[in-house]
């Protein structure tokens, strides 16, 4: 789960990291009132969960409340990479002398949480990593020892910070690490961490990604999920415990198991089609879950054919077949359907589906070719 900038910075503040005292505005008038209260120039920032907001015109400086009102009016309702801006963050403008990067990620290969710092802040860190990897400093944190002071000092030294800033920098590093652990994050990033005119350090932008598997122990964080940030289909999928990712193609896929679902997408592409989605109905998928999945797939107007690929193990072919029939009874459709059932109770499943008007296939390759042909014929 991704947090919005204003949420991430609010949490950073709770861990002692200096952040701007910004406020959220959902109307231009609100933004003007906030700017008037702050009394100086402000920055109005679109709150959407995508990168590149600045380039898209979603971040603007305003010198007066009237100007804040005007730019907020332009930013709200703007579409950035397909997401409509419904909220802005109004932060007091900062006197920036230098922009640093500070982040924590889980390094899978090293099996450690790794802190990264760079003197090239304020830009996309992936670009820095690709172009000038030597400008990214890293320290790996031992899970039992935590982030040690000397490790943060090493980073401060590497960044060329003067001695006077080491203490403040170290406290920010340790605060960010505590925040990462305390929230079960998989990414926590301050970009930029600004060096201000008076020498103080401040987290001007923040990003956090939380580990979905750990949300059960953070009900307060789980409650931060904003329904505006997910499509109705993604929401239905989440509530039905389905793994779903929308794609741009024309062949809807329903598969049990994540690896097989990816392989099914790949083979559709291999035979000249394009998958409309990734959808894993999970193990032991019961009829109601299958029906919910089919409704999600059919709600995509691009879908010209649906491919069911079910390898029965714990999931039983007859259960899936009943789910498909139940869903079709609810959502009548003319979209052609290709079904491939293998494994446990596959024969029973095929018998149940024989009465429905469906295209059947024995192998995955055959199923993919038939789905591609059906989508082209439609």
């Amino acid at each position: 789960m991704n947090l919005q900038e204003f949420q991430a910075k609010r949490i950073f503040g709770q861990y002692g990291i200096p952040v701007p005292q910004g406020e959220v505005a959902t109307t231009p008038a609100e933004a003007a009132a906030i700017a008037a209260r702050m009394g100086g120039p402000v920055v109005v920032k679109a709150q959407v969960l995508v990168g590149g907001r600045g380039k898209a015109g979603g971040i603007k400086l305003a010198h007066t409340p009237a100007e804040a009102e005007e730019v907020t009016g332009r930013i709200l309702g703007m579409s950035i990479k397909g997401l409509t801006v419904k909220k802005t963050l109004v932060d007091p403008a900062a006197d920036i002398r230098k922009e640093l990067y500070l982040g924590l990620v889980l390094d899978r290969g090293r099996r450690r949480v790794v802190m990264m710092a760079s003197s090239e802040g304020g830009v996309d860190i992936e670009e820095v990593a690709a172009r000038t990897p030597e400008k990214i400093l890293t320290v790996a944190v031992d899970p039992f020892l935590g982030l040690r002071e000397y490790q943060a000092r090493d980073l401060a030294l590497g960044l060329g910070l003067p001695k006077e800033q080491w203490g403040a920098f170290t406290r920010i590093c340790q605060g960010l690490y505590e925040c990462y652990l305390g929230c079960d994050a998989s990414l926590a990033e301050i970009n930029p961490l600004a060096v201000l005119g008076d020498g103080a350090l401040k987290a001007l932008d923040g990003k956090m990604v939380l580990d979905d598997s750990a949300l059960f122990r953070h009900p307060d964080l789980a409650a931060l999920r904003d329904e505006d940030d997910e499509t109705p289909e993604e929401r239905t999928a989440r509530l039905n415990d389905l793994s779903y990712v929308k794609l741009d193609g024309e062949i809807g896929c329903m598969v049990n198991g994540a690896g097989l679902a990816m392989a099914t997408m790949d083979i559709i592409k291999f035979y000249g089609g394009a998958p409309a989605n990734f959808l894993d109905v999970g193990g032991g998928a019961r009829a109601d879950k299958v029906a919910a999945a089919l409704r999600i797939i059919l709600s995509d107007p691009n879908v010209k054919a649906v491919l069911f690929n079910i390898f029965g193990g714990i999931t039983r072919g007859d259960e899936v077949a009943r789910g498909i029939l139940a869903a079709l009874a609810e959502v009548p459709t003319r979209v052609p359907m290709v079904v491939r059932l293998v494994g446990t109770n596959a024969a029973e499943g095929r018998a149940i589906l024989a009465q429905a008007n469906m295209i059947t296939a024995e192998t995955l390759a055959e199923a993919a070719q038939k789905a591609v042909a059906a989508a082209k014929g439609a």
Binding site: A130, R217, A258, M262
Partner: protein, 289 residues
């Protein structure tokens, strides 16, 4: 021969009284796996599926039954504890089926396991099977047959797909191991490849990877420098968009890393034949026999 599990496996089931645990214990027993004990705290002294004695602690179970492999079916919030309890009781091989364990918990569990003599398979995996000898997992037993191909995979049903295709062609498996789809796991591709390389029964290996992480790249390096047996690979997720988690917690392209294209290139550079789709795997393996 085979790797990791065989006729001598004496299996302990942690979470034997749960719905999943009970169902799969029955399946494992009917396959012929020797299930010697179950553990559910608070239910010690009773009997579970297949008349299996239940203990309160792993330590007691090991002491009374000589269990040497444990399989874990407990919910995610209790699973880290179950793994650590098994390791502290000295069980050399621990298989964790549970999906959804927080990554930071696994980080500590794995770091602790590295200080013990225990190996963990998983979590979030289907387990492993040596056909005809022991099924320690949730895979359907009947799709397997005994033979010369070692299989190692990050996936569940995709592995069944590949194994079944091999079996239908009359090609059996020495052992099929699911290492799981989480970002931090107990056993890597390299660990299993090393075992297959040393196993006299295994003549060739099938490796099924997917997007996310760099475990496949490490495997490619190992294959290039240390392996003599032929490896056939498949990487799932060639059409997966970056930044989106594809079901498995570990299946995500992040920061431009972990793409299928990178993994395929690394494997091809190590002379691994990479199948373009799952159906091709059995064809390549058959041509090599």
């Amino acid at each position: 021969m085979s790797i990791l599990v065989n006729r001598d496996t004496r299996l302990l089931v942690q979470g034997i009284t749960g719905r999943e645990g009970a169902f799969h214990t029955e399946q494992m027993i009917s396959y012929g796996t020797r299930v010697v004990a179950g553990v559910t705290p608070g239910k010690g002294g009773s009997w579970g599926v297949g008349n299996t004695p239940i203990f309160d602690t792993v330590q007691e179970a090991v002491h009374a039954t000589g269990a040497n492999v444990s399989i874990i079916y407990v919910p995610a919030r209790f699973a880290p504890d179950a793994i650590l309890e098994a390791a502290d009781a000295g069980i050399p091989l621990i298989v964790c089926i549970t999906e959804g364990i927080p990554a930071l918990d696994m980080l500590k569990v794995r770091a602790y396991l590295d200080t013990t003599g225990s190996r963990l398979i998983g979590p979030n995996c289907p387990g492993l099977i040596t056909p005809g000898e022991a099924k320690v997992g949730i895979m359907p037993g009947y799709i397997h047959a005994r033979g010369p191909v070692g299989v190692v995979s990050r996936s569940g049903t995709l592995t069944y797909e590949v194994v079944y295709a091999l079996t239908l062609r009359g090609i059996g498996q020495s052992t099929a191991v699911g290492i799981g789809g989480d970002p931090i796991n107990g056993t890597s591709f390299v660990d299993v490849l090393k075992m297959f390389e040393e196993d006299p029964e295994t003549e060739q290996v099938v490796m099924i990877g997917e997007i996310g992480g760099t475990d496949e790249e490490r495997a490619a390096e190992f294959i290039r420098t240390k392996m003599t047996k032929p490896v056939t690979a498949f990487i799932a997720g060639q059409t997966a968009p970056p930044g989106k988690r594809m079901g498995h917690a570990g299946a995500i392209i992040s920061g431009g890393k972990g793409t299928a294209a990178d993994k395929i290139a690394a494997l091809q550079a190590a002379n691994v034949q990479v199948a373009r789709h799952p159906g091709e795997i059995a064809e390549i393996v058959a041509a090599r026999l």
